[in-house]
Symmetry: D3
């Protein structure tokens, strides 16, 4: 019984998939705690079977390695970004497919920056309750509330799709019109937009309804159920997914553990379609 | 950063809408704690944007003032009723639209009594899991379990509609047939019944499923999701809403805070259609 | 105000229905705590009306007695099985209809063993998130993770239907094909399969979504809502139900109490269709 | 395994000691929840041995019966007082020694009123963090914050000793000088003051430090440890104790259960010196 | 009923004492959450009397104003420091005595920087479990783990006394020898060291034992009780205290609220000796 | 940042000390949950410095390896005992000093059995609130409530000292007279009894007061503070300690984490005197 992701391989070198945790939560605007996300997700992964009822396949058909958490300097977002960026580059250089576990959503920015050096035209698909399109948040440019806006500075707005967004300012609402795609629901998404493109998927768990993910920093009523989301997500299976992140799990805000249980199940499914 | 409702105005005089808390929970039958409802709702309101994704409008288009909580004598329901009644009258005299935050559902009775002196033929729309139509509860006439029956003594049964009710005694079930409208669902409501009427809306949060509002005094399985409710509630936007109350938030029973988050979002939407 | 099931009879002799708790949780694989299930279920039953909104009938039309919890030797599954088996036989000898409250799912095995001596061709209907069809779990044959496989040893696979299962190993998935019926959903069930048969129903509460039952030992994302389940369960009303168990309520993992509230409501409905 | 006090007798008639719960918390000024006190105390009593390490005696040398909780009308303090008063009188008529479990401290008033009709010169010993000597609390005369002042109206100030008090207004501080005894500590108590008197002991659990009793309505830093208190309390063993109450256990505010565990242990010791 | 400190004045101008909250927790090394400290402290202050049992004096003899929380940019420690520094300077210019509420301990640095411009030879008395004397923490100079080292850069080591410290690295242990005073206990302190000096007191609540303050970011077993500390702290009453801070209350880690209750009581006592 | 014990070595072969977790809790009599003890203890160890304030020494002067948790078959105490016994023997064969982390106290039995084969006359020092001297508990011989009685069957009563015991039946109290030493306090212990003996120390964390260790299976009021215990424990530093276990940490019952924090600090100190 170990505290890495469910029955993960111990052979880093030959693994095709690497799971890595970035336990950072210093810019959280409402409540902090997502630093404990990766740990809780791993612990609850042991509650799962390795066989997926959705995909009818066992994750042991994949070779996945869990490299644990990267130590980050709380309170120093710039250096944190640099560390995540360097770590991502190193993994990409080694041809790994990466599942990054947050921590807060701000971690997606340095990851995307690194991916952009290896894959020059991937599409960023963002699932989130919040648009995260602010220019800055109380003067902090690299806040989790600005992360997709920051990504847009790197890859441009036309390579970003935001799905399931249900919270934004009027300015963000205006800005969202520049994106390749933006909608409050999931089902209306036009998959043709991303046909034959490489895909990076960023999942902010607060996309899901607070009843399904109570353990998150900024719970926003009126979201999707796990069931609705997993069935939609699986539609990406036929695409070439180059990387995924799962962020904003804040387990201390959910003594029942159901948030971590759901997040771990998501990661199991993601392993299978990477 | 203050502890009133999200970015509320500090100008009581010129505000059209007043938010007021009645932190009373002395007659709670199963478990108490709703006295902390208004406080929690306010704190979680700061987790929200001021822009509504549902109504595509910012609450700053409205002038809303939060007068805080009224101090109430725990254990003395009669004097509590009197204080709420007087405060409501005073606000109505000043032409305010009032959003009253409970506290237990019993607070609706003195509010309705006051409203009845200013608006002589408004319709009371009640959203609730429980019928609250008992004559008395263990001998306590002004119990939260009797509040709508007590309201009926003031405004008559034919000005009351109960929606979404899923818990009642056989006596209450019989009595409910006297009301203008009563149903266990939401969708079948006939809006013609209230055409061109003034409307007062009382929302007992346990209408929502316990998964959405775990923090309430008498959780009743099998309720509505926030999503289902908010879409239904918004249908009242075209009506002349004279007042609203949101009651039975008991935040100590929900360490995740999702109940307060949902309640705060409801109040944001209500501000916009008042 | 007592701590037995809601307004239950004190007349054991003349009661047709007996409620009994088996507070056992020693083989729990992920997290323990279901020993407190029966107690919490009873306490939250007092939050309910005795009148069912679904069946429009009062449980006082039934004569139900709550015999409390049976004391069990933690850590000794064999003797525990024996005690449950003997207690069940004794109740069946007295012509009682039994509602057994877990405790973990392993309690179903000795119950079924006893039922099999009194009813020779009943069908076992299992609602669960997990198949529980392992041969053994870490060498423990009578683990909760093997309970239905163990039942199959007694009554054969062709008298077992599993509904709503969403977690299994590939071996269990194979084995499930031997059952009379197995499916991941509820609605597709063919009631003709059990026409005119006696029915025993075993309800593992983790069938329900973790948002509805956070307080359970092995929460599995992607389940059914209480609403979906209760409406499906009521379809069994016309069948001859000889016994029911409700297991895996672990209240300490749900400080909000909504899991116990839902479980208690289930038992209320079950009383009415026994 | 039952939910009454640890291995209590089922023979009410021949028991010398009766345990009774008054689950009332409607006048609580800061936070409510003590209605669940008696239940939690009973549940945690099963964590104890029946043998006292302090008194080296087994409680089975006493014949104690647990009559459960008396149902009380929440929100109606006057009728609640009457029910408690009548119940106490009835028990005293039957020559029982009574251990009353709160609920809030207000329950002591009707109990003392009843005791005063049977024992005409007993001394009331109060252990508490708060003086509870207000004339009224926000206009509520029978508030828990006034209970000892109310008792003084019945038995006079010269039959009341308050020990361990560490919270009071300046008015209460003045009033306390009228009592037979009042002090902020325990040890300086002069037992000669009560020599050869009958004694009634009222224990508000918030006397103990919040670290020992976190689960209480009005936690007040700087109290006594359980160890300090139990050793002091045992000095009363040689006195003629006619009744005891243990109040203000609010278990929902203490998820660890240590408050209920301590309260149950107190009751075990009290049984032995009654 | 408002959410500022217990019955505080509304007259900022004429108040001699100002209470201000700095809800910052971005550099927290183990677990975050102290941003909610000021709010919780204020809420629990309403559980207190205004009369001090220790000092036998009412805080209404003082004129204290609560200016609420200052909004701070999470994740940007430099700008946070600047805002706190400017706010402190402004208050000092207006001749206020300041009680600053954390937030993490890092807030003490900008406060001391401002005080140093107004009082040129005050002594900094630090109560803490941790030495906080690191040069940097994972490269973050302004981390809460370095705060006293940073203060020493401003006012020198010879104006700093650390009391009650029970956690440090060997390097910190060496460095501590440069301070005016450093000890693991409280009682041995030599008050002559600070005779006739102005005093600034910084109280990291984790000085207290985790049993007394479970709600803190870095709980360290083996601390002082509230009782021990308050009696020691009151010895400073005769000194000229120019400012105080109370930091590292993390209420979400203490569902019982006893940490906030103790912290609020401390502030009440501090008001009286300012 | 890894989930093993604080900065432990990765070199198993050359480590002198091995830390191992036995996450077993199937015989827990009151409430289960100690299976999560080792994990929580490890996580909170990262809250500590490696330097001991008590011993003024850094644990890096020792070479300690954390081998993680051993997987155990829940519900099968005999096989569990065998696995622990074999693992202990293997470590002893490799000349390791072992710190075993529970799990419930029952794990001490197989450990002692193994130690008895390598060290033929060590003394077993037990710190505990409970005597654990029952012959069986509800028929379960290897229950945690019998563990020291079972140890006595292996090493005899005259090699066992029990300290700080405050809960026992009258039978256990009688039996305790056969031991080398038994007392309810710590301080009166006569160290001459164990002069020049090898020592094995078993620490049931419920020895400590529930205020210090709320997260344990059977909290027993009236215990020792961490401070009292650590100072007493350090007196064993000059003895030849051959092994230590720390058991009964049940972190889910303590949302504040202070129990795990204290347990981790104990283990740090133990590493230094092994």
């Amino acid at each position: 019984m170990v505290y890495n992701f469910l029955e993960s391989s111990t052979d880093k070198k030959n693994s095709e998939i690497v799971i890595v945790g970035y336990p950072y939560d210093s810019t959280s605007s409402f409540r902090s705690g997502s630093r404990n996300g990766p740990m809780a997700l791993r612990l609850f992964s042991w509650n799962l079977e390795t066989f997926s009822n959705y995909q009818k396949e066992d994750i042991h058909t994949k070779n996945y390695f869990d490299m644990g958490d990267v130590e980050l300097p709380y309170g120093d977002i710039k250096r944190t970004n640099k560390i995540i960026y360097e770590n991502t580059k190193k993994l990409l250089k080694n041809k790994k497919k990466i599942i990054s576990l947050g921590g807060e959503h701000s971690i997606t920015y340095p990851i995307i920056k690194a991916f952009n050096q290896f894959y020059d035209d991937f599409i960023l698909i963002v699932f989130d309750a919040h648009a995260d399109l602010r220019k800055d948040y109380m003067g902090v440019k690299f806040s989790h509330a600005c992360v997709i806006r920051n990504c847009a500075e790197i890859i441009g707005t036309k390579r970003i799709c935001q799905l399931g967004i249900r919270s934004f300012t009027s300015e963000e609402y205006e800005f969202s019109k520049n994106l390749l795609y933006f909608s409050e629901d999931l089902e209306s998404f036009n998959f043709d937009l991303i046909k034959s493109k490489k895909i990076y998927i960023s999942i902010d768990l607060d996309l899901l309804d607070p009843s399904n993910i109570p353990g998150t920093g900024t719970p926003e009523a009126g979201g999707f159920t796990f069931k609705e989301f997993i069935h939609f997500l699986l539609k990406f299976k036929t695409f070439d997914i180059v990387g995924v992140d799962v962020v904003e799990l804040s387990p201390d805000h959910d003594p029942s553990g159901i948030s971590a249980a759901a997040a771990a199940k998501l990661v199991r499914e993601i392993i299978l379609f990477l």
